[in-house]
Symmetry: C2
Subunit: 337 residues, 2 copies
């Protein structure tokens, strides 16, 4: 199944079921107003979606206006972002002489979850001096996971898969990391591709809790990288079990893979500027690729079939010039729920 969320007068938007080609869609109806609600009753949702799907594949529903779609979960209760590609960390350490991170557990921090930007929305940030970067990631959405859930059992709690851009501010990140407290200022709101898919949509490209597809990044229209999600050192089920050791995870929890990365970087590139700069440091003696400037455009897709997740296609803008959008978003959130 492929789900999307359409803008309406509620902060959580309206849940849609999409056709397999991503062209048409239908609202899931009054029983399933939002994805955040629907994911709490997964089996019943699947029954209703299966019935609707027959209508959709027979040509029912309406053509989807992707410009009217929000993130699949415009907000949720919990966003836990891993860093499960050891290759990414190893490159960063080698390039910048960081001490290796000593841990035999998955790396994970809790990030802001009350706002996921829509795939086409401008990304308004305070200043280029923060060194604006993107991070291409796959992510999964869980239903309710009990505390102490094993990695094996966790596989059944992976309900949806997302494509995420985890915006990162590199001038701030090292100082925050050094405190040991994780990131607040270095991690503003993430963006999400418009379509959330069930794992079965991936067929054999969903293996061992990993999305075995290239994550394709282009900056200002030029190829930047297409490493595969296959190379995670921990699968998403492992990340769930790690997170659930001392807490239950609520339905709607999003868990991220961290920057998708591949040791064959000379061929497949990177999904963040920072890693490319690390590679340049190692291979050329100095970083060359600049961080983003206001007006720059970042596009992310996965695989070759854009109808899988849709695309993230955003321009980075100056926050102050864009202040009205924030103010209006703030006001509309205050009026409705």
């Amino acid at each position: 199944m492929r789900f999307a969320t359409r803008v309406n007068n509620c902060a959580d938007g309206e849940l849609l079921l999409l056709s397999r080609d991503g062209v048409r869609g239908m609202p899931m109806g009054a029983r399933w107003p939002t994805l955040l609600h629907a994911i709490t009753q997964w089996d019943a949702l699947m029954d209703d979606a299966a019935a609707l799907s027959v209508t959709l594949e027979a040509g029912g529903g309406d053509t989807i206006d992707y410009g009217g779609l929000l993130a699949p979960l415009p907000r949720t209760w919990q966003w836990l972002d891993g860093s499960a590609f050891a290759n990414h960390g190893a490159l960063m350490q080698k390039a910048f002489n960081h001490p290796p991170i000593e841990t035999d557990l998955p790396l994970m921090y809790q990030g802001m979850s009350h706002q996921f930007l829509a795939s086409h929305e401008n990304v308004a940030l305070p200043t280029e001096a923060d060194l604006i970067d993107f991070e291409g990631e796959f992510a999964i959405v869980t239903d309710d996971v009990p505390m102490g859930c094993s990695a094996v059992d966790a596989m059944d709690h992976i309900r949806l898969i997302l494509l995420i851009n985890d915006w990162s501010l590199r001038a701030v990140a090292p100082a925050e990391m050094k405190t040991g407290f994780g990131w607040i200022q270095a991690k503003p709101a993430c963006s999400a591709a418009p379509i959330a898919i069930t794992p079965d949509e991936l067929g054999d490209r969903w293996r061992n809790g990993r999305v075995c597809l290239p994550l394709r990044v282009a900056v200002n229209g030029a190829w930047f990288g297409h490493p595969s999600g296959e190379g995670m050192d921990y699968g998403f089920h492992d990340l769930i079990a790690h997170a659930a050791r001392t807490r239950q995870l609520c339905a709607g929890t999003i868990i991220g893979s961290g920057t998708v990365s591949d040791p064959d970087f000379e061929r497949v590139g990177s999904t963040c500027i920072s890693e490319r700069r690390a590679i340049e440091m190692i291979t050329q003696g100095k970083p060359v690729t600049p961080f983003l400037q206001f007006g720059d455009h970042v596009r992310m897709t996965a695989g070759t079939d854009v109808s899988l997740f849709g695309e993230i296609s955003q321009i980075v803008t100056a926050f102050r010039a864009d202040f009205d959008r924030y103010e209006s978003a703030r006001v509309s959130k205050s009026v409705i729920l």
Copy 2:
């Protein structure tokens, strides 16, 4: 105003207004079903609460059953916990030879916000071997805060004050901190005292964005500490401005002070075991006070007037023995929203 949240068939509970003596209360009614909703429309809420308050202070409403109260916000979108008492950090560093944390900014991490335990609820954790500890904190709740909000402007976004116990697992915390990613396993769900108060309820004990009241902790009925919230090195308005530099804060954001701590610890004690052990290390050469065991009881209040926040009074239990409660909570959350 003093607000509380009563259990009903919704995950967010039912919003109540309490009388000034904390004895009686009334539902805020259909316009204000939950605190998480109400805080998005603060001025209108205050108008209606003022009207209801007249009825309450004239003897209206019903006697409150504190056993039926949840946390004021049983769940919310964002929990940002500071560590604003430099004395606490300094003691920990001195006792355990940690390198000092190099930063000229407030310390802050994002913690789990999808579950705040009720003040009387058992605290079910996997194992005593995790070294179970409490942290007494004051916290504030914001309405919508725009990105880039100044510390001065932030003062007006402080809508409610809470008393929080930030449960912490000391065997896990240092390893997670060393990764730089902050804490996941070391920080299970926090607990909250039942009453959320507006800052004016504190009178002159609300000064410069600080709660100038002793936070009183007792373990198994014995005094443990009563340091004042006055000694924060950053006020709550500073913490808001720090958090809002690169993100807007949604209404319902909770920001914590971190462990309340005072350099005059010989007289006023501590609000967490770990700090007391650090003091013992410094003054006696070794830590003496044990971490918590299953069956231990922790009580927290603030000031001398228990009707201000009410009390946190909880027993730590083994998660597996308590598994049914988790399972039933999980199922009920899946059925309603």
